[in-house]
Each structure stands twice: as structure tokens, then as C-alpha cells.
Amino acid sequence: MVERATPLGADFKPGSYGDFADGIGITLSAPPSGTIVEATAWPGRERALAARVGKVVGLSLEAGAGAGAFKETGAAAFNIGPGRFLVSGRNEVLADRLIGAVPEETGTLTDLSHGRTRLRVEGARAEWVLAKLFALDFSSAAFPVTEGRATAHHDYFVQIQRTGDQRFELYVFRSFARAFVSVLRRAAEDVGYRIE
């Protein structure tokens, strides 16, 4: 019998880590993400795609650079490139629903549910920890809630959506997730962190 393995490694266990004597700076978790889909519009069809995708997942999604939307415990979507969106939701049938709802002449969808892992970074020091890894301005003025960014830390390609004043959702290639989590944990040691 094959053992089911977590993409985050056996030591991603609930508990407090690092220098947490003076409090917890951030909380790391990997909330379940039943569906992760990349949607790409044909040139000139960006708005039509955003509208179709938004309708299926119940969000009002715009096509502009970095634009995004999400519902608490519901679906999330954000722009990751010209005419491209990352769409996720808890429901595992969402991928099929999205693929069925977008006509061929509008764009294409790729089911990445098994190819990406979602990580949540939340807490008062979330901006501080992420700024160690990515050359981005994480202040809420430059990176407002609902918006998304595609960026990289060395070889780790990461797509990030801000879902709260102190909360970010990170999408990484699943085969890189374990190594990336170890980097994230190392970066969070000085502020103290909890895994949930």
C-alpha cells in the first residue's frame, strides 16, 4: 500500500517554532484548495474571460494587471499576467464547471489542482517575512487587499494574493512546495511562527 504523502513534508506539523518567546509573528497553514485553474484569454478577450470566470465562481473579477477578488472560505481569483488569471476554490468540481463555461473563442483553461499548493501566511509580521524573500513592496498601499502578484524567489516561482491586511495566499508548484516551506520557515524564525 502506497503511503499518502503531504507535499509539505513530514515535519510541517502544528506547533510553535522559532523565536516565539515574545509572541507569534506569523501563522503558516495550507488551507485545502480543491480546485486551482489557470485561465488564459485570447488577445482582446480579457474582459470576456474575466466576466465568465467571475460568474462561475461568484466573484466580480476585473481584467486589469494584478486585479483580484475573493470570498472568505469561497473562491479566489487574481490576474497573474496579460489576460491570465489564477482561479481557485474549495469545490473539486469547480475545474470542470469553469472549463465548461468558457467558450473556445474566449480563452483556455488548465486544471492545475494537482500541480500547485496553496500556503497561507498570516500575522502582524507577514509583510516583513515575505519582504525577505521577494523583491516586492508588500505595504498595503502598494499591494492592496484582493490584488495578486506573480513573482519569484530564486527558482521558486510564486503567485501571491493579498486576502487581508495581514494575510497572503501563496501558490507554488507542488513539487517545490516542501523546499519552499523550509525557506519560508527559516525566514520566519526571528519573528516566531506557528503552523496550523
Binding site: 488577445p43 482582446g44 481584467a63 494587471a65 497573474i80 523583491a135 519569484a152
Partner: protein, 92 residues
């Protein structure tokens, strides 16, 4: 060094990959003019100054860009999407 991606805005050089000289024009693929192919593959003016080149925002929006970079100062004079798009802009 920062490159201002037309989609993402100013981003660190580390997010970009160099994709080659954008001043060359490929001969007709059916052409057997060996001099033209030789020039296309090997002949490089290597200017000390502004240079048109292709870059990809590989660690970001993944768009291919046309960048004019000064080879003396690394100043980026302009950036545009390599392929014209209605949402993006025009090829320089």
C-alpha cells in the same frame, strides 16, 4: 537593476531572463542564402550604447518583452510587450 514590465511595473532584474538580440531579422526560412544566415546567426554589431533586446519576465507575468538597454550604463530606455496586444501596447 530594475526593469519596468509593461504589465507588472518595476521589478528586480532577478525576475527576468535575457532572450537575445532583437535587432536581427531572420531570413526567409526557405532561403538558402548562406551569407544571410551567417549574418543572422553570428554577425553582431555589439554597440556601446542603446541596444534592442528581448527579455522575458519569467519570474513574474511571463510576458516576452522588447527592451532598449544601454550597454554602457545598463539604463533601461524603454520596455514594451514583444507582441502587440490590445490589452498591452504596441511593439516599439
Amino acid at each position: 537593476m530594475l526593469i519596468s514590465c509593461p504589465h507588472c511595473g518595476p521589478r528586480d532584474l532577478a525576475e527576468f531572463s535575457y532572450q537575445g538580440d532583437a535587432t536581427r531579422t531572420r531570413p526567409d526560412p526557405a532561403s538558402t542564402d548562406t551569407q544571410a544566415w551567417h549574418d543572422y546567426v553570428y554577425a553582431r554589431p555589439n554597440p556601446a550604447g542603446p541596444h534592442r533586446e528581448f527579455w522575458q519576465h519569467a519570474g513574474g507575468c511571463r510576458a516576452h518583452l522588447l527592451v532598449v538597454r544601454d550597454t554602457l550604463t545598463h539604463e533601461i530606455h524603454s520596455t514594451a510587450l514583444a507582441r502587440p496586444s490590445r490589452a498591452g501596447g504596441e511593439t516599439a
